[in-house]
């Protein structure tokens, strides 16, 4: 396991990360175990690692298969590979009802096909796990990379593992777990429980594999990494790649008048919370406590107001990458439910904002923005459910930003959490997943309270 050295003898984040990557590549290429596992916290350079590992493997003359979980992840990976090495021929294997995306196919070196035979001889072939499961009548690859391995189910790995001899598994253990639409208690506690994450099965059956860890988040600013690390990765901490003050968010003055659809008092609160967030990296815009339906119109309006004011005021981000204007493409809104996302889109459109990403936690996994605005999953609810308390959901929402994250919520969530029954069942023999969602929710809120702005 990669551990952080004591601060006294601290190497730079870059040195730490390089050392981790070197160890990972050595293990993947020549390690004594057939599998190498890499835990990657949010923004720790997982995709960079995958591209780097792929290129190193290809250099050795080996052909490589890459397994990702969704079609957009596959397209994304293909795009990154082709960008990193325009001369590399990459096969994009796809299903007949899922055509490859434009982003992947714009590169001349990329070949797409529904049949593996057409791509078999290319140095790299990329497809979803669902597509790989149907591949047959082919010799196994020597090397595979499995991306987002924590989101892959054990049974999917069972179906594709025959296709490779060695594999590098990369993923973020803190994000949303795979799930099943039926009960799976029959297999709880079995090493090979088909419904659990592929990595959990792999590690249970191969005790010699010790997961590597990417120790530095290059995405999260110094204001966010400690909170996210403590709350969501209690036993595998990581640090920010930048120091406090390395990232700056400078907003324009709050002078532009709000558009007709935006109440002045709400605009003022939005401005205030934006200032707080620009200063500290976090902002909590708290509406009066009230029980509401999921698509609470006032909370939705508040989310839209924050986004609209941010765009109206404009501003600049400064970071190790240089400076850039804060524009719609660098802002995202995260919600728990799809209907909430739809409601926010509607409210934004009414304010004339159309090109900001608004999506659920599930769809924001793996994405990165400068500023995120989050509708708290528990806002306005009379009670929590396992869905709302799932650690991965809050973790995804709180770890997409490079500069600042603003959470919009109704007051009263700590009390709601206090009243939540703690009756979580425990299966013997099942390794507990950390942290606890209830506790993590409290921890995050406790932190956010210091950056609170009340809206009336």
């Amino acid at each position: 396991m990669t551990t952080l050295p004591t601060p006294a003898a601290s190497p730079s984040p870059g040195e730490q990360a390089d050392a981790a990557v070197a160890a990972i590549l050595a293990s993947a290429l020549h390690g004594g175990e057939r599998g190498t596992v890499v835990d990657s916290p949010p923004g720790a350079g997982k995709s960079t690692l995958v591209v780097k590992a792929a290129r190193e493997l290809v250099v050795t003359g080996e052909r490589l298969m890459i397994v990702a979980q969704t079609n957009s992840q596959v397209d994304d990976l293909v795009d990154r590979l082709a960008q990193a090495d325009p001369g590399l021929a990459v096969g994009r294997l796809h299903g007949s009802d899922a055509l490859p995306g434009e982003i992947a196919m714009r590169h001349p070196g990329v070949v797409a096909s529904t049949k593996v035979a057409d791509l078999r001889e290319l140095p790299v072939v990329v497809a979803t796990a669902a597509k790989w499961q149907w591949v047959k009548d082919t010799d196994p690859w020597h090397h595979a990379i499995v991306d987002e391995a924590y989101q892959m189910r054990s049974d999917a790995l069972l179906a594709v593992a025959r296709l490779f001899e060695r594999a590098l598994f990369v993923g973020d253990p803190g994000q949303l777990d795979p799930f099943s639409i039926v009960g799976t208690d029959d297999w709880a506690g079995l090493h090979h429980d088909p419904s659990q994450s592929a990595v959990v099965t792999l590690l249970a059956h191969n005790p010699g594999i010790v997961p590597h860890r990417l120790p530095v988040s290059w995405r999260l600013p110094a204001s966010a990494a400690p909170l996210v690390s403590d709350a969501f990765y209690p036993f595998t901490p990581f640090r920010a790649g930048t120091e406090p003050g390395d990232r700056l968010l400078e907003l324009g003055p709050a002078t532009p008048p709000p558009p007709p659809g935006l109440a002045p008092s709400l605009a003022r609160a939005a401005d205030e919370v934006l200032d707080v967030a620009a200063e500290s990296g976090w902002g909590l815009l708290e509406l009066p406590a009230r029980l509401t339906v999921r698509t609470d119109p006032e909370a939705v309006a508040a989310v839209a107001a924050v986004v609209a004011r941010l765009l109206a005021r404009g501003g600049e981000t400064r970071s190790e990458r240089g400076s850039a204007p804060v524009d719609a493409g660098r802002i995202a809104v995260g919600t728990a439910h799809r209907d909430q996302a739809a409601a926010v889109r509607g409210a934004l459109a009414a304010l004339g904002v159309t090109d900001v990403t608004v999506d659920t936690a599930n769809r924001l996994q793996g994405r990165e923005y400068d500023v995120t605005v989050v509708l708290h999953p528990l806002s306005g609810r009379p009670d929590a459910t396992a869905f709302h308390l799932e650690t991965g959901r809050l973790c995804v929402l709180a770890s997409r930003h490079r500069h600042a994250c603003i959470v919009v919520t109704r007051a009263g969530i700590p009390e709601l959490l206090d009243a939540h029954p703690s009756t979580e069942p425990v299966q013997l023999g099942v390794v507990s997943k950390f942290p606890d969602g209830w506790e993590a929710n409290h921890a995050v809120l406790e932190h956010l309270r210091r950056h609170r702005v009340a809206a009336r």
């Binding site: 901490p237 029980l291 339906v293 069942p425 013997l428 023999g429 506790e439």
Partner: protein, 484 residues
């Protein structure tokens, strides 16, 4: 399951205790037993339950007096079977239990180490029993260091501050291994069948065990404090996390390995003397272990032992601390230390892995399974720290009320009925009747409430079907489908 009551109260009562005793009508206070802990887990937000359990009121009797008796009960067959199982485990100085613990906890330890099963004065009152348990813990830890001995504390009595009021807890057993570490043992009568057991029951057992771990940590902190008061130096006991099977990677830099020192025999003696001299043992430790809810989970901050182990376990979160994620914050700072960090001092002797002992398959043979309690500990700790204080809740009740004479006075305490109460709390039928009479949508289930948002009564929800919200659309669709 334990239903024992305190036979004696043998120390001066605090005003709160006096008030709670009056509430019981002078009856003995009940322990915070498995059922009370389950009720707490099922409905932590209920004021009514909080007061009744803090006061140790017999809720079953109260429910009967209110005319809505609970249906909980245990078949004599089940009781007999449970007793047979426990008797077997405890026979011959717990021989079978100890054998099981040996294999589970320290397979490498010599099978020949002696086993102590001290007398814990089970017929005494709670204060004496608690003091006796404390002494036994200290002695056992000393014995472990000196003679590599095992000690099994059979039904010890622990005290824990819950929302400002002290409750008594009686774990099935605590075992102190030759490594000096304390393990909570939960004996249950449900079976472990082919390696798995009813997850609901295991979950309840784990939460119960976590409460005991917290109580043990408090006790340990008190022992540390007593040692400090006795001028024998801080942080004398050094548990060795990392030697037992429960050892796990700690948050970086926060390894709780504390450099060696010897066992505080004197601490035990101090506590024992306190008992012997007629002094209240609680008083003896009060100065360093304030009875504040926050002290429950953070015993280390209050003890001088923390001074000997700078920074261990404290993980700063604020972006202000430089040098990466783990810089120590001053004790009591508002920042969140990792809720999973191990405490320091003697409290670290308590293992965060409990042991569940159950009958195996269809037999009466015992089998043990480890329970990782770290999650339950983190949750329970925060839960206890955030509880509304009982004094505050009591304000709703008339000063002199006795529930044995005026059971209906309980209605002045707010309830938070949900159908889950039916399986967890003796008062459920009574509260259900009230919730139904009020037309509360909770009677249809907690999930229903989530669907309905601000509509909290059945009537309001039905009225909303005439409007044009989601409920109205649902009503139209339902009507259309049923018309076909």
């Amino acid at each position: 399951m334990d239903h024992s009551t305190h036979a004696r109260v043998d120390q001066p009562l605090t005003p709160l205790e006096t008030r709670l005793a009056a509430l019981r009508g002078g009856a003995a206070a009940r322990n915070m037993d498995a059922r009370a802990l389950a009720a707490l887990a099922a409905n932590p937000g209920c004021d009514r339950r909080a007061v009744l359990d803090a006061a140790g009121v017999d809720k079953a009797a109260l429910a009967t007096r209110l005319g809505s008796p609970a249906t909980f009960g245990q078949s004599p067959f089940a009781i007999t079977r449970g007793l047979v199982f426990e008797r077997r485990l405890r026979a011959e100085r717990c021989a079978e239990l100890v054998a099981l613990l040996r294999t589970e906890l320290l397979p490498e330890a010599t099978a020949q180490s002696p086993v102590e099963v001290p007398d814990l004065l089970p017929s005494e009152g709670p204060a004496v029993r608690a003091a006796r348990t404390r002494v036994a813990l200290a002695e056992a830890t000393a014995n472990a260091a000196a003679g590599r001995a095992w000690t099994l504390l059979d039904r010890p009595l622990l005290r824990l501050d819950v929302a400002g009021s002290t409750v008594s807890l009686e774990p099935d057993a605590i075992v102190i291994g030759p490594d000096g570490r304390w393990t909570v043992v939960e004996i249950k009568s449900f079976p472990i069948l082919d390696g798995s057991a009813d997850p609901t029951k295991v979950g309840a057992a784990a939460r119960q065990a976590a409460v005991y771990v917290l109580a043990l940590r408090t006790t340990a902190a008190a022992l540390d404090a007593a040692a400090a008061t006795a001028q024998i130096g801080p942080g004398l006991v050094h548990p060795r996390p990392g030697t037992g099977p429960a050892a796990r990677p700690h948050p970086s830099g926060a390894s709780a390995d504390v450099p060696g020192a010897d066992v505080p025999r004197a601490a035990a003696h101090a506590a024992a003397d306190a008992v012997g001299s007629g002094l209240s043992p609680a008083d003896a430790t009060t100065p360093a272990a304030p009875r504040l809810p926050t002290a429950v989970g953070l015993p280390s901050a209050a003890t001088s032992a923390s001074a000997a182990t700078p920074g261990a376990g404290a993980v700063a979160a604020g972006g202000t601390a430089s040098g990466g994620p783990e810089a120590a914050l001053p004790a009591g700072a508002a920042a969140h230390a990792s809720p999973y960090a191990e405490p320091v001092g003697l409290a670290a002797a308590v293992r965060t892995t409990g042991l569940l002992v159950c009958p195996r398959d269809f037999s009466n043979v015992a089998v043990a399974a480890p329970l990782d309690l770290r999650k339950q500990l983190a949750v329970t700790r925060r839960q206890l720290a955030r509880m509304t204080r009982i004094e505050t809740l009591l304000a709703a009740l008339p000063e002199t009320v006795r529930l044995d004479e005026a059971p209906e006075a309980v209605d002045t305490l707010a309830h938070a009925y949900a159908p889950e109460c039916l399986a967890a709390c003796e008062l459920a039928f009574h509260c259900r009747t009230q919730a139904r009479a009020a037309g509360a949508v909770e009677v249809l289930g907690r999930g229903v409430r989530g669907e309905l948002g601000s509509l909290t009564t059945v009537e309001a929800a039905l009225e909303a079907t005439a409007g044009d919200g989601a409920l109205a659309r649902a009503a139209r669709l339902r009507e259309e489908a049923l018309a076909r």
